[in-house]
Assembly symmetry: none
Homo-oligomer: 159 residues x 2
């Protein structure tokens, strides 16, 4: 019995949620709902509550009030740092231009992902530089860049 194929809309919506939460300060599900509305998704608060649960997104108190943030990768142990294992949790999006790839992660995920990247065997990747939530990769060629972007996009998709 194959587990029912996930409706594409759900996956895309959750992807959008991750991006929004990585990019903005969001303090309530209603606020998130409005932002999604502007981007073409019209769902109820119930659905968002479930999405946030699935994505392990928590609401944490900050100086500016409550904010949703992706909860740190619960893994973190030396073993658990293969790209395939962590990327789905931390990935936000990838894009590239020229010889460069830019990978956005959830806040704080940059170092972890870059570390995993560096352990991958990759001859067409000259190196990576990681910030808090952004990783820059320098590729040997534009072809390599395209390959890498595609691969990362695939790995980053949550099952």
């Amino acid at each position: 019995m194959e587990p029912h194929p996930v409706t594409p809309s759900k996956r895309d919506r959750q992807q959008a949620i991750l991006e929004l939460i990585g990019a903005r300060e969001i303090g309530s599900q209603e606020e998130l709902r409005q932002l999604l509305l502007k981007r073409g998704w019209d769902v109820t608060q119930s659905t968002l509550s479930r999405d946030l649960r699935d994505l392990r997104i928590a609401r944490v108190p900050t100086d500016q009030g409550l904010r949703y943030v992706v909860s740190e990768a619960p893994n973190e142990d030396a073993v658990r740092t293969s790209l395939a294992a962590i990327l789905p949790q931390l990935f936000v999006r990838v894009d590239g231009v020229g010889h460069l790839v830019v990978l956005k992660t959830v806040p704080g995920g940059g170092q972890t992902v870059a570390h995993a990247l560096d352990k991958e065997p990759a001859t067409d990747l000259l190196g990576t530089i990681a910030g808090d939530d952004t990783i820059l990769m320098i590729c040997r060629s534009e072809q390599a860049r395209e390959r890498i972007v595609r691969r990362l996009a695939t790995l980053g998709k949550r099952s």
Copy 2:
């Protein structure tokens, strides 16, 4: 005027909360209230809500349901800094080449400015990577780079 000395009970109670949350799986404030009761504190849910805020304790979704955990980074400079507001203070110079823009800031200003940059709506900016006083931006095109350099130069001018 000395800020009022904190009632000892509050400090102790919050200490106890931290310990409880480190030791057990707690999923609601009522649950926490019961545990505190057994240890001799009798407070209302309101108080716990405030304590949890003060302690930056978040409620995160786990496989076993919602659980309170001390949030990772209590640091968070997180000033609500708009680019226009901070750039004049921190800007040193900008320049660019190809798809890249390099922005120099005063020492230590890199993260702050990059953070502000990331909050800007910008579709032609793939991402930013920040060091201590240098920020690298990857643009989607050379035209975008020119625009961005010009804009930053303007914003950075001290009035």
